[in-house]
Amino acid sequence: MTLGADRSDVAARRTTPDQLTPTVELIEITKAFPGVIANDHISLVAMPGEVLCLLGENGAGKSTLMSIISGLYQPDSGRIKVGGNEVRIDSPRHGRELGVGMVYQHLSLIPTLTVLENLMMGANPGIVLDQSSARTRLAELASALGVVVDPGARAGSLALGQQQHIEIIKALWSGSRLLILDEPTSMLTPQGAMELQGVLRALTARSLAIIFITHKLHEAIAIGDRVAVLKLGRVVGTMGPDELAAATPQELQERIITMMFGEAHAPDAQVAELREPAVAGRAVAVATAEPLLELVDVSAVGADGQHGIQHVSLTVRGGEVVGVAGIDGNGQRAFAEVIAGQRRQSAGEIRLAGTSIDRTSVSARQRMGLRYVTDDRLGEGVVASWPVSVNLVLKRIGQVPYWNRGSVDRSAIDTTARELIEEFDIRTPSPQTRIGKLSGGNIQKAIIAREVAFEPRVVVFNKPTHGLDVRTTHAVRERISEMTRQGVAVVVISSDLDELIDVCDRVAVLDAGRLVGIVKNGPGAATRIGELIVGAAAPVPMPA
């Protein structure tokens, strides 16, 4: 059964759902890695025409499970049935042949090639690329998704949401019956996420089965026909279509949180998910505080084809949280790196507590209390093959007390590491564990610990909670508001609008490297920011 080949199943489901064969059925799947059982007797079914939402914290075993379905890993025990027949999926290619399509969290299109070229590259086994049949296939799949695609457009010129549509088409290219999406909305704007929902509905209407991995409860509730919650490698709860239909979103949310964290944590997690803005009552103090970070007409060139920044001016006062919104790649990275000192500015001035730091090095800025929590955690934030302890002092190499007259003092490093691990609740077997072995949330906690410890004055967070589970997200946001109470100036760069509304006093919007507006947080702010992001706001007056 390939996509678009058989619509009778939809009708069948409506009449006698119980007689349907599951598209993919996992029975008692177990997979252990040294020291950890990633999947512990997991049983799940993905039914044709349904979206199965897979929820779970970082390290719950979702990725391992999907790698097993797609053929990347072999389970230690357990069985997999595809279309009712038991199979052994021994390679990703075999997985594709069985009709398992996978869309990863990070988009993998080659930006300089056209849409059509990207698709043909991924799928064509032969040497000669067959353009005309590829065009036909693209048109077929685009109409199945209900989207319009220009085959000749360069992949890099498309918006992220559109690129994701291409990724989905790529996954479905040679006929899939199961589509797996790994945190597909993490890169998208709210509008993009809405569009994706429409696409998924169009696909399930054609009796495709979808597994949708997410951290976000409200998405799971809005999109899922079935919801399964994973925790520490086990399925701790499932909800079928009937149960989902019978309850209000509010009730479902509470029920899922209880599954994920147990009764005790439900109120905790709700704060992060239900988004009660924590900013009220802070504004008065802010108005009188000293400006700690000032950008005056700063410009810088971007890297890797991303936007730089042009003539950006912004002031952040002590105790204030200023957000920077915008679609990814609109100059956020250049903005953060210029402040951190990693990127040279081509014009303008940056001041820290009134002193120009234009000629100050990265490490000197760090010592002056200017900190940068990078969004590229594994790429530049840590040395993955090194211990947690050394990563915690990575920006203090050669400084006392960790290095005395150039010679390392391991016990001093260890002491500080243990303190930070305790204070920031970093879950690690020991300070000597390689940091790359920790889950994403714990790596982020370690990076934040490194930047926030030792008397910060200004902290720039770049996507502080991207890819983190509800609990860690909550902890990070708590940390931010705690810092503001101590008079630290905070900048939060994020493509997650809800997050900005949750933590910021003001939100600046970056579009193509320019600051197109600053919105004071309050009623209606989200709409106003959203309009500025997508360029739907009143046009900014053009300079003469």
Partner: protein, 375 residues
């Protein structure tokens, strides 16, 4: 580079249980010694194919390189330049800088030292002369890395290409210097010979010069550099994750320059020790070409300067004993290069299989495992 065990990494297994610690040691030993054993076995097969007796050949190698007193002395003396070149390569490689131009750096330093040494040692106290010549070799070696280092640090130009090109130029320039300004009285193009009284002191009753101790000291110093110092840690960060180095506020262009110059200096020191310790003059066409032979050893030692010592001894035995054995077996001296090439090949293979096992897969290809089950 990624599995270079940094000094700071060394505490990493403390939390692990004793058996897994043992396994780590065994694993390291297998990965380091395994390729050599496999290369020697394959070399034996090759010898048998060309009609030589492998047992007799390796017997000759061991006799001439290890068990005969004069051979053993030569072997130990030969470790000095290998350790110093190795230390130079380790410094660069750990910082993720591929200094493949060691031959040019070595020869150019050798040419300057051999050109200046006879006159200098005749006019100043020898001890001061040795120190000055050591600095001369280090300076020349370091200077020859400046262009690649600057291009890499400032413009990101791939240093593999630039160091190789500079090496060709350096090798040619060294020959020109020996034929020109440094040409000695002899009719063949070669420098003047250092007076025997100017050569490095030997240990009592043997032909092992004090440069060997200098090389051992440098190896220990390089080990300490990475295990203990902030400078070594910075180089390790650069090698492990260059973007993290920028992020952590390390002045990367400057660190690249300093690292490259240190690497070149150690290689230049190897040249000085060789000329003043062993050869006493330099011929225009002389080139021991340590560089590419030492590279595999450096990786077998897992970029650890102390672990390099046994491999340097192995290299000494193979080159001293091998020279004798190939002559006896009527084989070209290049047979040693074949063995080194095989070591490199099996090293990559062992690494691949080891990585595979660490990912939790079997060492055997899946098909053959199935076959053995059915058999």
């Amino acid at each position: 580079m990624s599995d270079a065990t940094s000094g700071l990494d060394s505490g990493i297994e403390t939390a692990a249980s004793i058996p897994s610690r043992w396994r780590g040691w065994v694993d390291a030993l297998v990965r380091s010694v395994g390729p050599i054993v496999l290369a020697l076995l394959t070399g034996g097969i090759l010898l048998a194919i060309v009609g030589r007796d492998p047992i007799a050949f390796y017997d000759d190698v061991l006799k001439a390189g290890l068990f005969r007193a004069s051979g053993l002395q030569d072997t130990i003396t030969r470790t000095a330049p290998v350790l110093l070149v190795g230390a130079g390569l380790i410094v660069a490689f750990r910082a993720g800088l591929w200094n493949l131009g060691s031959d040019g750096q070595y020869l150019l330093a050798a040419a300057f030292v051999a050109g200046v040494a006879p006159g200098l040692l005749a006019s100043v106290p020898v001890a001061i002369g040795w120190i000055l010549l050591a600095f001369l070799g280090m300076t020349v070696g370091a200077a020859w890395t400046i262009v690649p280092a600057w291009l890499r640090g400032r413009y990101g130009v791939n240093e593999i290409i630039t160091t190789l090109m500079m090496s060709f130029i350096g090798v040619g320039l060294a020959a020109l210097l020996v034929k020109g300004p440094f040409d000695g009285p002899s009719t063949v193009p070669q420098t003047s010979v250092i007076d025997p009284g100017g050569m490095l002191l030997n240990l009592p009753d043997v032909r092992i010069h004090i440069g060997v101790f200098l090389a051992l000291f440098v190896s220990a110093a390089v080990y300490w550099l990475f295990a203990r110092t902030a400078f070594g840690t910075r180089m390790d960060v650069l090698g492990a994750n260059p973007r993290a180095a920028v992020h952590a506020g390390i002045d990367v262009p400057r660190l690249i320059l300093v690292t490259f110059m240190l690497s070149g200096a150690l290689i230049g020191l190897a040249a000085a020790v060789d000329i003043v310790g062993v050869f006493s003059y330099m011929r225009a066409d002389w080139n021991p070409a340590y560089g590419l032979k030492v590279v595999p050893l450096v990786f077998l030692a897992r970029l650890n300067a102390l672990a390099m010592i046994p491999f340097a001894v192995f290299f000494g035995v193979m080159s001293i004993g091998g020279a004798y054995a190939t002559r006896r077996a009527d084989l070209p001296g290049d047979f040693l290069l074949v063995l080194i090439g095989l070591v490199l090949l099996f090293m990559v293979l062992t690494q691949y299989l080891g990585d595979k096992r660490q990912r939790g897969e079997s060492l055997l290809p899946r098909r053959s495992r199935m076959a053995s089950v059915h058999a």
